[in-house]
């Protein structure tokens, strides 16, 4: 069953390259996504047992991120079908520099989407750290073509940066994995495998310096992928140039997977009694990421970049949460869900705005509520949610993280954290109102041509975000606690 969750999208992805007819391929895309979602939901009812030494397995954290990814992907697939139908066979004139460009072949896009899903599933499910590494590697490869969907020099540049930075990071991560392996070598010869179960069992007698070095390397390596400052540099470029549906997947799903990679390493550190060491690093990089993101969000002139930086900020929040441990870890897991939903929705809405206003400049967009009533409202709601205002989901998790910080007596952390959140508010409140309200600067016909799917999908997300804010389904709560316990230190 677990294997099938990887195989289905993988095979479908390969098939996508071969299939000729667009319609059939689109059907297959949605079908594969639906099957995958069904399978991942099924694991909630009959959780597959985690076998020591097995390469694949599903623990609480994995299940959360897998389910999130797969539901997100389903939505994105639906959105993508509509998107591809729109884009089909068009030659576009670039609205920043006016040159004519064409898109990558739809087959490539669809195929990579599915392979991307397969890779992310593998990340969530693999119990062997080396395999985790391989999977995260694969996500880079599968997602690069998604960024280079629009064939022009800016997206090319973005792809290049994405590839180079993530590859360097990933290489360092590999070194980290190797270090971990070394740390697991018993002086008397004979070694522990990189299976998480074995590692946790053997954690107390891992060699400390190697483990520390390993964590540093993994943190930097996967951090580059996750978008922690100062390794986040590829993120704004990639998100601003990729088609919105790809951005939604990158921010909503991929970052979580990289985060999971770091969590695994952290898990080992906690088991090895190095919790303080790893938590301090996470806290530091978390706050740093929030600070950098805040600095770039304030006065950001490009709204897709703004969203990208806000992703950096929220990755920082996740790191802070995990770094606080205990309640913080729980809050972080909760925030994974809230952030993914919100950010994916925001990127989709941003895509709608982009399609109608034909500009990414915040200043040139206004009156979205009049031009695209639903999308405009969703834009405001989403931005309010992302800055953590009640009654939306992110508020709860961000509040809990602040509580964790203060309860554990880390007043300084709490103050900096809240201050940075406040700065972000001042940066995002402006665009939220200015773009949504006022006289519309869009051409009405462009607005009227937009298919309802484009706003219907994000609307579902909005409902989910609101739900997460006012009602946390007990089943989710339980598995959140379970997940937090994996690396929560008590």
């Amino acid at each position: 069953m677990i294997a099938s969750m990887i195989l289905v999208p993988a095979l479908a992805g390969l098939a996508a390259f071969l299939i000729r007819s667009d319609r059939l391929r689109r059907v297959m895309l949605v079908a594969a996504a639906a099957i995958h979602a069904a399978l991942s939901l099924a694991t909630w009812y009959r959780a597959p047992a985690v076998v020591r030494g097995a390469w694949l397995g599903e623990d609480a954290a994995g299940r959360l991120i897998l389910t999130l990814t797969s539901l997100l992907f389903l939505a994105c697939a639906v959105y993508a079908v509509a998107y591809l139908r729109d884009e089909r066979g068009k030659r576009h004139s670039d609205f920043e520099e006016g040159f004519i460009f064409s898109n990558a072949r739809e087959a490539v896009f669809t195929g990579c989407l599915l392979l991307f899903l397969a890779a992310m599933t593998l990340v969530a499910l693999s119990r062997h750290l080396a395999l985790v590494w391989v999977a995260i590697e694969a996500t880079t490869l599968a997602s690069a073509p998604l960024i280079y969907f629009h064939r022009h020099h800016r997206s090319l540049e973005a792809t290049w940066k994405y590839l180079l930075i993530c590859s360097v990071g990933i290489a360092l991560a590999l070194l980290g994995v190797l270090f971990l392996a070394v740390s697991a070598i018993r002086p008397g010869g004979g070694a522990v495998s990189l299976d998480i179960g074995d590692l946790l069992a053997a954690a107390p007698n891992l060699s400390v310096p190697w483990l520390k070095a390993a964590f540093v390397l993994l943190m930097v390596g996967y951090g580059a992928k996750m978008g922690l400052a100062p390794f986040h540099t590829w993120l704004p470029d990639a998100h601003s140039e990729a088609p919105s549906v790809a951005s939604a997947l990158l921010s909503g799903a991929l970052l979580n997977c990289a985060f999971l990679g770091i969590l695994r390493a952290h898990q080992v550190c906690v088991a090895a009694g190095l919790a303080h060491f790893s938590e301090r690093l996470l806290l530091g990089f978390g706050l740093l990421s929030m600070a950098v993101a805040a600095a770039f969000i304030v006065g950001q002139s490009d709204y897709k970049r703004m969203l990208a930086y806000s992703s950096v900020e929220h990755m920082g929040i996740l790191a802070v949460g995990v770094g606080l441990g205990g309640l913080g870890a729980f809050a972080a897991m909760l925030h994974v869900i809230n952030h993914s939903l919100t950010k994916a929705m925001l990127f989709m809405v941003a895509g709608n705005l982009l399609a109608v206003y034909r500009t990414k400049a915040t200043r040139e967009v206004s009156g979205a509520v009049r031009a695209l009533p639903l999308s405009g409202v969703l834009w405001i709601l989403g931005l309010l949610a992302i800055v953590g205002s009640p009654p939306f989901g992110p508020f709860v998790s961000e509040f809990l993280i602040a509580k964790a910080a203060l309860d554990s007596g880390r007043a300084a952390v709490a103050i900096v954290y809240l201050l940075l959140l406040a700065i972000v508010v001042t940066g995002i409140a402006g665009p939220a109102l200015a773009m949504a309200q006022g006289r519309s600067t869009a051409s009405p016909d462009a607005a009227s041509r937009q298919s309802p799917i484009f706003s219907a999908v994000p609307a579902i997300f909005a409902a989910a975000i609101l739900m997460m804010g006012i009602y946390l389904p007990p089943v989710i709560g339980r598995s959140l606690h379970e997940a937090a316990r994996l690396f929560g230190r008590g």
Partner: protein, 656 residues
């Protein structure tokens, strides 16, 4: 309790209904108004019963949100603050029904959705007894009022105001978050009854003061208020000024009830904040040209006065001076009630003026009282009430606060005397300035000749816009004359707010209500005498020659409306005295030569706090952050360098 929930449901239904009926013109208004009025009528009864201590009910349901629980309680304090919520919201809804006609041609569904949402969230804020629930309602309140502020979003000022408001309320909320976390640290729960403030009560008080003070409009956190309130449609402005900012006062009081015995310095701080707010508020109000902006600043002033009352009350409790404590708290609470009356009245009438004359700039108005006598009379009543002229209600509450001040003067020692003296003196100054301010507002806008002939001829508004104002005005008179009864009824509320035992509160209240009755009587006597004198004059003039002529023009043959004294010139003496604080902006074109062509003097006063504190700070911060931009300057080599350097440093740090 059931009635309360029912009224909540009605508000909710109104909100949803307004949205659902968005398609058909006119229906959102009908639905929204009907629901709001019904909810108000249903809800006010349990509120009054609770306020008078007849019943205290609570309801606690589990909630799946971590640390959240649906825990609400209706005690005297909540009930007291609920009364104006229901009353003003219902009246404002009726008023808005007429007022929103001005926005013909665009859907009012959003307006009514947010109006009902605002009302509902205010109710929840006041009854909530769980931090999460409270914060949710608190923010919903802020957001729904935000969208009322930006309802007229095609006008840039409204949008700018929206931004200021959003940022301000978020920052305020941040303080509240810290506040509640601190309170909940010990108990392990965020239900109010599980809070313990055994440690760090002082810090908690400061957090509450800043967080709630932002909403209540205490100086210098008031900057959002004069932007937001004028921008909203007048019925919304009325609700925001008259009721919503009081939730800040409520929150402060609620926290005080939780933290228990206050320390004297809290009282001093609160007094000082109140005095500064009151003075700054009235001075800035004095200098405004925009009628609604003026009213917004006067809300800052009145929040300050309430704070003075609370501060004196705290000093009283801390120093064991029961009379002072009770007088202070009673005065503050009564002023909360009174302000909700006359401020909504003033916003209603000001709205009618803007509605009829199509401008809020008093420099362009004039002579309205002849065109709209009823509105004029109502505005005058409101002005008299807010200037605390006996026997109107404003006087009753300020009288109590003065009482607290004098008790402090006569019966305490040390720093308490000083703060009490300061309170009395500055209250007096504020009172005098308030008279000047509203003399200007009413005198320039309603009296004399119309100043701007380009404006359309004003007319009395529709009855739906008059009736609410009339109700509020009569309320001002009634409460003023029966203040002593009202005060005696305040017993339970004062008891909870001050944390003093009932045994000591009741006699103290009784000892105040006597003088209050006398004071009211004196005021009423004045009115009677005045009427008598008027009759005498009529009798004297009967049968004598009474003719009409032009105003005596000092021999100048061609008087024009533009020769009248303007608002700017009216306040010029005061703005010069306080110029160093106000920093008014003046455009003076001096007359030149023997036959000067044109000369003009205009003055307007932007908020100095905004101009000289917040904007510079934000600008600096923005520039500072922008200085980091080069980090992202596009070269991938540099980006890899970041990774390399970070890695090396980390390894050096962790392994060395």
């Amino acid at each position: 309790m059931t009635l309360l929930l029912l009224s909540l449901a009605l508000f909710g239904a109104g909100a949803i209904g307004a949205l659902l009926s968005a398609g058909r013109t006119g229906w959102p208004d009908r639905v929204g108004v009907a629901a709001a009025v019904a909810a108000g009528v249903v809800g006010i009864w349990p509120a009054v019963r609770a306020a008078t201590g007849a019943s205290t009910e609570s309801l606690r349901l589990a909630w799946s949100i971590p640390f959240g629980s649906f825990f609400i309680e209706l005690d005297p304090l909540s009930g007291f603050f609920l009364v104006p919520v229901f009353g003003v919201c219902a009246l404002a809804a009726i008023y808005g029904f007429g007022y929103l006609r001005a926005y013909r041609g665009r859907s009012t569904a959003a307006a009514w959705f947010f109006f009902n949402l605002l009302a509902a969230s205010m109710v929840v804020v006041i009854v909530a007894r769980n931090a999460i629930l409270f914060l949710m309602a608190w923010e919903t309140m802020a957001l729904s009022s935000l969208f009322l502020v930006t309802f007229d979003d095609e006008n840039d000022e409204a949008r700018a105001a929206g931004w200021t408001y959003l940022v301000a309320s978020h920052i305020g909320t941040a303080f509240l978050i810290v506040l509640f976390i601190l309170l909940g640290r010990g108990g392990g729960s965020l239900d109010f009854d599980r809070f313990d403030a055994s440690s760090g009560a002082g810090l908690i008080f400061v957090m509450a003061l800043v967080g709630f003070g932002t909403k209540a409009g205490f100086f210098p956190m008031h900057v959002w208020l004069p932007e937001a309130h004028p921008a909203a449609p007048s019925h919304a402005s009325a609700v925001m000024s008259a009721v919503m900012i009081k939730t800040g006062i409520y929150g402060l009081l609620r926290v005080l009830t939780i933290v228990g015995a206050p320390e004297a310095w809290w009282g001093w701080v609160l007094c000082a904040v109140g005095l500064v707010s009151a003075l700054a508020g009235v001075l800035l109000a004095l200098a405004q040209r925009d009628l609604k902006r003026l009213l917004a600043y006067s809300s800052v002033e009145n929040s300050g006065i309430i704070a003075i009352g609370l501060g004196l009350g705290l000093v009283g409790t801390a120093s064991g001076n029961i009379a002072m404590a009770v007088a202070g708290f009673a005065g503050a609470l009564l002023h909360v009630l009174n302000h909700s009356f006359f401020k909504s009245l003033l916003f209603f009438t000001a709205g009618s003026v803007a509605h009829a004359a199509h401008t809020r700039d008093i420099e362009r108005l004039g002579g309205l009282i002849k065109r709209m006598p009823l509105t004029g009379g109502l505005f005058l009543a409101g002005s008299a009430a807010i200037c605390a002229l006996p026997p109107l209600n404003g006087f009753a509450s300020e009288f109590l606060i003065y009482m607290a001040g004098f008790d402090g003067v006569t019966a305490t020692a040390g720093g308490n005397v000083a703060i009490a003296f300061a309170a009395v003196a500055l209250l007096a100054l504020v009172g005098g300035l308030a008279v000047a301010c509203f003399a200007r507002a009413f005198g320039i806008a309603f009296l004399g000749h119309p100043r701007d002939s380009s404006l359309p001829a004003p007319h009395e508004p529709a009855p739906s816009m008059l009736v609410p104002a009339i109700v509020q005005a009569s309320g001002c008179v009634l409460i003023g004359c029966l203040a002593w009864r009202v005060v005696e009824a305040l017993g339970p509320v004062v008891r909870i707010a001050s944390g003093l035992p009932a045994a000591s509160v009741a006699p103290a209240l009784a000892s105040i209500s006597g003088p209050l009755a006398f004071a009211g009587a004196a005021g009423m006597a004045a009115i009677v005498v005045a009427i008598v004198l008027a009759l005498i004059r009529r009798w004297m003039l009967s049968g004598r020659r009474v003719r009409n002529a032009v105003t005596w023009d000092c021999g100048y043959a061609y008087p024009t409306a533009r020769m009248q004294y303007t608002g700017s010139s009216f306040v010029q003496p005061l703005t010069t005295v306080f110029a160093s604080l106000l920093r008014p902006r003046r455009e003076l074109v001096e007359p030149e030569g023997f036959f000067p062509q044109r000369a003009s003097f205009e003055s307007d006063t932007p908020d100095p706090c905004r101009e000289y504190v917040f904007e510079p700070v934000f600008r600096r911060a923005g520039r500072g952050l922008a200085a980091l931009r080069p980090l992202q300057q596009g070269q991938v080599q540099l980006y890899v360098l970041y990774i390399a350097i970070t890695l090396v440093l980390l390894l050096l740090w962790q392994l060395a």
